[in-house]
Amino acid sequence: MNIIQFISNIMIPLVFLIIIVYGLLKKVRIYDAFIGGAKEGFTTVLGILPTLIGLMMAIGIIRASGALDAITGLLTPLCRFLGFPEEALPLTFMRTVSSSASVGLLLDIFKIHGPDSFIGRFVSVMMSSTETIFYTLSLYFMSVRITKTRYTLGGAIIANLAGVVASLFIANWLYK
């Protein structure tokens, strides 16, 4: 348990250390490179701002209406039976469809329950171990005009399902 905590704390400083030392050894003008890269990150974030506004507004509306509670209310018995936190259900489905829409739902959970609650931690781990399957799959296959994808979708769904189940187990183990 402590080792996982340790990896979490050391990871980013370690990545920074390796990048800086390697950059110095290779005589890269590291600060100039950093600025150039940071500018790119800046543009990326500004680029997602309109998407985020649209999505958070839509989620704000559906949440305030009470419809989301009604839908999850219907699924509560099934979730209880499976030991799955029902508030995380819409996010889990959305995660496979759209990365930006799932971020909206993720932030909604952080807002209501807090990122350090059990469910906040569970969805954080779950988001880091799953992918937007449908978008990426169609992008890659369409780029080379493949129409018969064999077992790719099945494999992607099973791998992501394994990620969700593993996250739930890990969250139960570490944070319950």
Partner: protein, 197 residues
């Protein structure tokens, strides 16, 4: 698809609120959420730019290239048939390892171009141009199983919502990612045996 999801959120919200009598809070909710998105992006600007800045150093120093070279022997086990295809197979392998490294480092924008290049090279050696080859299936399942070690954006969101220890999910995230990728690889290997006899 997103068009319909977005529309249905708003329409279901408004209609349900009318029926259930919750309409009075809807305007405030819409306005507050829109404003909150901006506040969030301000913090994201700092964290994302820091990350992409560091990663640019790694690119320019050749660190990312060195890592993808180091990865190639391991990837050879996932794509045993690839090296038999000469130059095209080799190029495909290079693109695949760059894509995997970029994914591991959480550089989605840097992972897509080599990913598409890899698909093109794999298509060049694919005997049936309309059907996914064995290598394509493996590549995409691994790719879609989530490879990311550090989800910097999740950490940024957690920080924005006042988490005491935003990075505490890195270790658990790595563990869960190993499980999902492991299951994906095992599934792909089993299916390979069934489909490509």
């Amino acid at each position: 698809m997103l068009n319909y999801i977005w529309a249905s959120f708003i329409l279901i919200g408004i209609i349900y609120a009318l029926v259930a009598g919750n309409i009075e809070g809807l305007t405030t909710a819409a306005l507050d959420s829109a404003a909150e998105a901006v506040g969030l992006c301000v913090r994201m600007l700092g964290i994302m730019s820091m990350w992409t800045g560091m990663m640019r150093i790694a690119e320019e120093s050749g660190l990312i290239k060195a890592l993808s070279k180091a990865l190639q022997p391991a990837l050879g086990k996932l794509f045993p048939g690839l090296m038999k295809h000469g130059a095209e197979g080799g190029r495909a392998m290079e693109h695949i390892s760059t894509n995997v490294i970029a994914n591991i480092l959480g550089l989605g924008w840097a992972a897509t171009p080599p990913g598409i290049k890899a698909m093109e090279e794999l298509q060049a050696i694919n005997p049936d141009k309309s059907t996914a080859s064995r290598e394509m299936c493996m590549f995409l399942i691994v790719n879609l199983s989530s490879l990311q070690l550090v989800s910097i954006n999740i950490i940024a969101y957690r920080a924005q919502y006042a988490s005491v220890n935003p990075q505490e999910i890195i270790g658990p995230g790595i563990l869960a990612t190993l499980v999902s990728t492991g299951v994906g690889i095992i599934f792909a290997k089993i299916m390979e045996k069934k489909v490509f006899k």
